[in-house]
Amino acid sequence: MSATRPGKASLDFRREIAPVGAGSSSSGAAGAMKVAVNNIHAIGGVVIKELCRRKDFYVLFVLTALITLIMGSVNFFNEDKIVRYLKEICLFLIWMSSLVIAITTTARQIPAEKENRTLFPLLAKPVTRNQLVLGKCLGCWLACGLTLLVFYTFFAVVSGAREHHWPILNYFQAGMMHWFTLAIVIAMALIGSIVFAAPSSNSTITFVVVMGILLVGRHLDEVALQLTEPGQSVVYAVYFLIPHLEWAFDVRELIVHDRDLVSWAAWIGACAYAVVYAALLLTGACLLFRRKALN
């Protein structure tokens, strides 16, 4: 009995001081799960608040809006219904802005906690390392979702005002695929923030990798065919291993050229693919962070 009491007391104590999830009357696995979810949610909330406080999003949104509106005001042969070039420019800017927000926001999360010396107090509370990683990831992902909502609303308003039709379902498909793809990017940046020393190097490397996938990911199999062994096998392996972020990136083309909706089965498949990849990368991030010496 004496052996069990300290453990229970310790558990109760931890719950009492827990900043979130405290006061939970439930016990056992369900209670622990609820506490974990609350912790993750609370950490995520802090990230969202941080994004609202920082100027990154506002600057990028104003730039995107400004460039789009300036380009929209250009007169081509007195034809006021030309819209596709504008959609292309706007969607490209949205993609670039969202990548910058996702990568830079994620890359600085854990290093900033270390630098501000808030990481140890945070982990001293009943927040595990896994919960911290998952909370940061969730926060960044939700923050990106909010920014995408604003960006895509702006895009829909601009294109709708010009072409007078509102393919909302197409925009929904593109926006959701974009958001799910950003989950992979965020997970990659999170791994980078554990592996690399500085947020700047992490941001740069993640950005280069993501841009590489977006630009040549679809064509790596064709590139592999033109190589000799062992280069061919290596490139083929890379082709099958990398997350194909370009699927969501390419949906822009369907929107720009007023093509039909993506089949819902394929769309669900692509979102599930993104979720699986993000989960794999997050698991990797959790494992790495668990073994990481923090001092």
């Binding site: 042969f77 007195n78 819209v83 695929m177 390419d250 993506v262």
Partner: protein, 305 residues
């Protein structure tokens, strides 16, 4: 001494200033002065602007195919035989060959990925959104390809063509393609003429631009006299600029002669029509049918009072 130096310096400055005011206008107005080279784009981009211009011209062709377009990793149509340009001039069906650049999916990622980018062959203005299902090399017989009815979607090409022309004003095809779509599908004859004239300012007396301008006068403005004058000038310029070249644009020569012959025939100037037909016969692959037309025209000339 110091006064003298100061006075001399002032005098030299005055002379230099006076010379500047005389020499600068002379330099700007001298024969062969290239005053168009001072724009910001030329200074900033140099000759690389031609590369960008080509990129935007190709982008217009990609828009014409509603995004279904080969990347740098796929087999590409030749730059001077882009589909959009082929529609503006030569036949369409033969250009369809080579547009099945995707082929069969190579693996499951390739197959699945095709759901997320334009992977079916469509054109701007295909109101029924029908896909070209014909095999490579097979002529296109879809009604939507042969008909002249348009939803005006072709306007989406124009920004890229205008940017291309801005970057490389010497690229004649850009003006011709834009003018073709403006006057035929969008009903913007004034804008088409203005754009061609912009091209002529950058490329004075260019035979292809003159030929296209003549088509505007005849087909849209119904001004036979001006069309004839412009085409005669185009023919003269062709002889001056193209005839001596090894790879002379014979197709353009045939078109000019054919249009002039037809115009003279309809205007009952049979002797001039015969002269044009005879010149056309020398370069055309359809010598027999032209000979037949010549004989018919000669008969009409004899029958004429």
């Amino acid at each position: 001494m110091a006064m003298r130096v100061t006075a001399l310096t002032l005098a030299l400055l005055l002379v230099a200033f006076n010379l500047t005011t005389w020499l600068d206008p002379w330099f700007q107005n001298r024969a062969g002065a290239n005053s168009s080279s001072a724009d910001v784009l030329t200074v900033a981009l140099g000759d690389s602007r031609r590369l960008f211009a080509k990129h935007f011209y190709t982008k217009a062709d990609a828009y014409f195919h509603k995004g279904y377009y080969p990347s740098i990793y796929d087999a590409k149509p030749e730059a001077d035989k882009l589909h959009m340009a082929a529609n503006a001039g030569a036949g369409h069906g033969e250009r369809e060959a080579g547009m099945d650049f995707l082929g069969k999916p190579k693996n499951w990622i390739d197959a699945f990925g095709r759901n997320f980018f334009p992977s079916s062959h469509q054109h701007l203005g295909d109101e029924d959104q029908a896909e070209c299902q014909h095999k490579p090399g097979e002529p296109c017989t879809h009604q939507h390809h042969s008909s002249k009815q348009s939803s005006g979607e072709e306007r989406e090409l124009l920004p890229w063509l205008q940017i291309s022309a801005m970057l490389d004003p010497d690229r004649v095809e850009t003006y011709i393609v834009a003018s073709y779509w403006l006057r035929t599908q969008l009903g913007k004859v004034n804008e088409a003429e203005q754009f061609l004239r912009q091209g002529l300012r950058a490329n004075p007396g260019h035979q292809e631009l003159l030929f296209e301008l003549g088509r505007i006068y005849l087909e849209n403005r119904k001004d036979v006299t001006r069309a004839r004058n412009v085409w005669e000038l185009a023919l003269k310029k062709w002889h001056e600029n193209e005839a001596s070249k090894a790879d002379a644009n014979i197709f353009l020569y045939e078109q000019i002669l054919g249009q002039l012959a037809k115009l003279e025939y309809e205007d009952k100037n049979y002797s001039r029509a015969i002269a044009y037909y005879k010149a056309l016969k020398e370069v055309s692959p359809f010598k027999e049918s032209i000979q037949k037309t010549i004989e018919e025209t000669e008969a009409k000339l004899k029958a004429a009072p």
